[in-house]
């Protein structure tokens, strides 16, 4: 269709663009007339009353017309190619800088508590970003390496958080004992989920993991005697510095090291704690990729049948992938519980799973640095638009769609092969199987 329209569009670009823009405006009018042009509000009697908002409707339709006209004049009917406006030298420079992005980001992360010591808000935001970096790296094992599409990752996050909260409040175990226990319990749940889905592929797997995530959330919501239901669990013990609590008292962290007590100590400690946990996740993932099990994951992602023909046990391969991913999700969950001091099922909705999956996919599946950058951009950007209030989720949704259309392979679209012959070089992500089954 594009080819037929092209000569016509070239001869009379303005006319064609005007025609397209008019059509777009007409469609926009149809879409927005009832939902924007009219508004329903409950009146004083309780019945719905209707009011008109024609100026807003006219503005939106006008904006669609103008946008469509600009697009038509700039690109004709071809796809919007922003790439042609970026000079190649800039791309090369970006690639060169990109090689140092990892160490630079790590250095920056290490320095954040010094740079922003007085800025509690930025420290908290940093902790939040790092939590999502860790979740993204954990999910990356399942989706990016093993190629299993998991829409219920938040379940393991929840299991980790509740494990820590329950163990710490009922048995008064310390964070450092609870952390591995929560990880083990989450891994156990990962295996439990893994068993029924072993035979499933692709979207069946996706829907079962989604269902699993919802089941966990609903059980947490309704098992009032254990989890407190919608009220959640509060007064979860805060973390201590290897036994030294962060309080203004004798025998605390501040008094032991002869420092003046400041509540920021705990925030800084939490920051380094999550940074360390995230780096452990990253390090384990990188090491695992070189082990037979990591190779098996990637082989399974590329072609499950070939993988089975070569004698790889896909059952254990899938289960270990689920267990590993779940374990890191559980660690992150424990951290979340100790940081918040309060958890409730509301923190573990499908939206969280979608957010983590979006971070992994937008960052470029299988790319560790890409996931970190995506978490930084998404969570940081989300905070940046705080002033927009109700519009920010809308902006967030548009960002997801446009990034996907603009760069379907994620922000970092090159992959380091795990194994190579001769020269080591990155390959385009399009050559790597992703989320296939």
């Amino acid at each position: 269709m594009t080819q037929q329209a092209a000569p016509h569009a070239r001869s009379q670009p303005l006319q064609a663009a005007l025609k397209d823009a008019g059509l777009s405006a007409l469609i926009a009018f149809g879409l927005f007339f009832f939902l924007i042009g009219l508004r329903t509000e409950q009146g004083p009697t309780g019945a719905l009353e209707i009011t008109t908002r024609l100026p807003q409707l006219a503005m939106l339709v006008g904006a669609v017309f103008a946008g469509s006209l600009a697009r038509g004049l700039l690109f004709g009917r071809d796809a919007i190619g922003i790439g042609r406006f970026i000079p190649p030298a800039l791309v090369q420079a970006a690639t060169r800088i990109g090689r140092f992005a990892g160490p630079a980001l790590l250095g920056f992360a290490l320095l954040v508590p010094w740079l922003f010591y007085d800025n509690r808000y930025l420290l908290d935001l940093g902790i939040l970003v790092l939590t999502y970096v860790m979740l993204g790296w954990g999910l990356n094992i399942v989706v990016g390496l093993a190629g299993l599409l998991d829409l219920g990752y938040v379940a393991f996050y929840a299991v980790g958080a509740y494990s820590y909260a329950l163990l710490a409040t009922h048995f008064e175990l310390s964070f450092w004992i609870c952390l591995p226990l929560a990880g083990i319990l989450s891994a156990f749940w990962g295996i439990l989920l893994g068993f029924p889905v072993l035979r499933l592929r692709g979207d069946y797997l996706a829907i079962v993991t989604l269902a699993f995530g919802e089941i966990i959330r609903l059980v947490l919501l309704n098992w009032q005697s254990l989890t407190g239901g919608p009220n959640g669990i509060s007064s979860i013990p805060r973390p201590s510095f290897f036994g030294l609590p962060f309080v203004d008292d004798e025998g605390s962290f501040a008094s032991t090291f002869g420092l003046e007590y400041s509540p920021t100590h705990r925030v800084v400690f939490l920051f380094y704690l999550i940074l360390a946990l995230a780096l452990v996740t990253n390090w384990v993932t990188i090491r695992l990729r070189r082990l037979p099990i990591g190779r098996a994951w990637e082989a399974m992602r590329e072609d499950e049948i070939a993988c089975r023909s070569l004698g790889i046990n896909t059952t254990t391969t899938k289960l270990t992938a689920f267990a590993m991913g779940a374990m890191f999700g559980g660690f992150a969950g424990s951290f979340f519980a100790t940081r918040q001091g309060f958890i409730s099922p509301e923190s573990f909705t499908f939206g969280e799973s979608a957010l983590v999956l979006a971070i992994v996919v937008l960052g470029g599946m299988g790319s560790q640095i890409g996931v970190a950058i995506a978490a930084f951009v998404m969570i940081g950007g989300f905070e940046l638009f705080r002033e927009l209030d109700q519009y920010r989720m809308l902006v967030f949704g548009f960002a997801m769609v446009t990034i996907m259309i603009w760069r379907p392979r994620g922000l970092v679209a090159t992959r380091e092969p795990s194994i190579h012959l001769g020269e080591r070089k990155a390959v385009g992500a399009a050559f790597v199987g992703q989320g296939q089954g």
Binding site: L35, R201, A211, L357, G435
Partner: protein, 304 residues
């Protein structure tokens, strides 16, 4: 026994609504192999368009309920179909030749957009609508329990059956249906044989959205309330229904919808209302363990 019969009626009504939404999922999945995550929200948009259209009609003086309902049905189906078309054109078509996860993420983004768009445009509060279709029939009136079949339940089930029949005819007998089946079997081959793929896929979304809008109207009339968040839960359950019935299969979608509706209703009636969704999802998992392609789905042939 009477109680059981009443729950059966309620379950079938709920199942009809799920079934109508599930058809949209199953058609899109059958043709382009993607989970249209925004479909549940298209259903919600359909409900909202219907609500506002009804209020607007009342405001301009159309007060006869049957006429108003008919006009609302036309308006909602038309405009929701336009939403379906726009969503496909804007968020999915550019990604058609991409890898599998790309349209899925785009769809999740689209779902967020639609939800927040409606929330901003119409507010987050629940919108109540007074019951338009009232009355019903008493089937059995024993001392212990009275079994009621309300008019709205009859309308829901009858409309669903009529739409299902019309849709089955469309897929089996018309040119468009043949194109759709061809695309489902092999997209590339169909395009080589002269099927306009873009048009077929667009129309699939349009039809799916129109059916979802009918489900939205049913939901609005049956429950009398609507808010911007109903799309998510209904969407997940309808997709569960589509998978349960065997994704890509039309009778399967309807069967799955009915099953999910019945499971949910009976579980709430006899066990606990809090765990009704857990029951529905658990049954999905159990069915998939033993029938990995759903109840009516064809086994997937893996070629090397």
């Amino acid at each position: 026994m009477e109680y059981f019969l009443q729950q059966l009626i309620n379950g079938l009504t709920l199942g009809s609504i799920y079934g109508l939404i599930a058809i949209g999922y199953t058609m899109v999945y059958g043709i382009i192999g993607m989970i249209n995550f925004a479909h549940g929200d298209v259903f919600m948009v359909g409900g909202f368009v219907a609500l506002i259209a009804f209020l607007a009609l009342v405001a301009i003086g159309v007060t006869a309920v049957p006429l108003a309902l008919f006009l609302v049905l036309l308006i909602a189906m038309g405009l929701t179909a336009l939403y379906g078309w726009t969503v496909e054109r804007f968020a999915y078509r550019p990604l058609r030749h991409s890898y599998r996860l790309a349209p899925l993420i785009s769809a999740i983004g689209m779902s967020i957009i639609l939800q927040n768009y409606v929330q901003i445009a119409q507010g987050a509060r629940v919108k109540p609508l007074p019951p338009l279709v009232t009355g019903g029939h008493t089937l059995i009136a024993s001392e212990a329990f009275v079994v009621q079949l309300s008019n709205i339940q009859i309308i829901v089930v009858a409309t669903t059956l009529a739409l299902l029949a019309a849709f089955t005819w469309l897929v089996a007998k018309t040119r468009l249906g043949r194109d759709m089946r061809a695309c489902e079997q092999d997209l590339k081959m169909a395009s080589l044989l002269g099927v306009d793929i873009d048009r077929t896929i667009s129309l699939t979304f349009v039809i799916g959205a129109a059916l979802a809008s009918v489900a939205g109207i049913m939901y609005l009339l049956y429950y009398g309330v609507i808010d911007f968040f109903i799309g998510f839960v209904a969407g997940v359950k309808a997709f569960t229904a589509a998978v349960l019935g065997g994704i890509g299969s039309l009778p399967g979608a309807m069967l799955g919808g009915m099953l999910i509706g019945l499971i949910e209703t009976f579980w709430s009636a006899y066990f606990s209302i809090e765990y009704k969704d857990v029951a529905a999802f658990s049954i999905l998992i159990i069915v998939l363990i033993f029938l990995p392609t759903g109840i009516l789905g064809r086994p997937e042939v893996e070629k090397v």
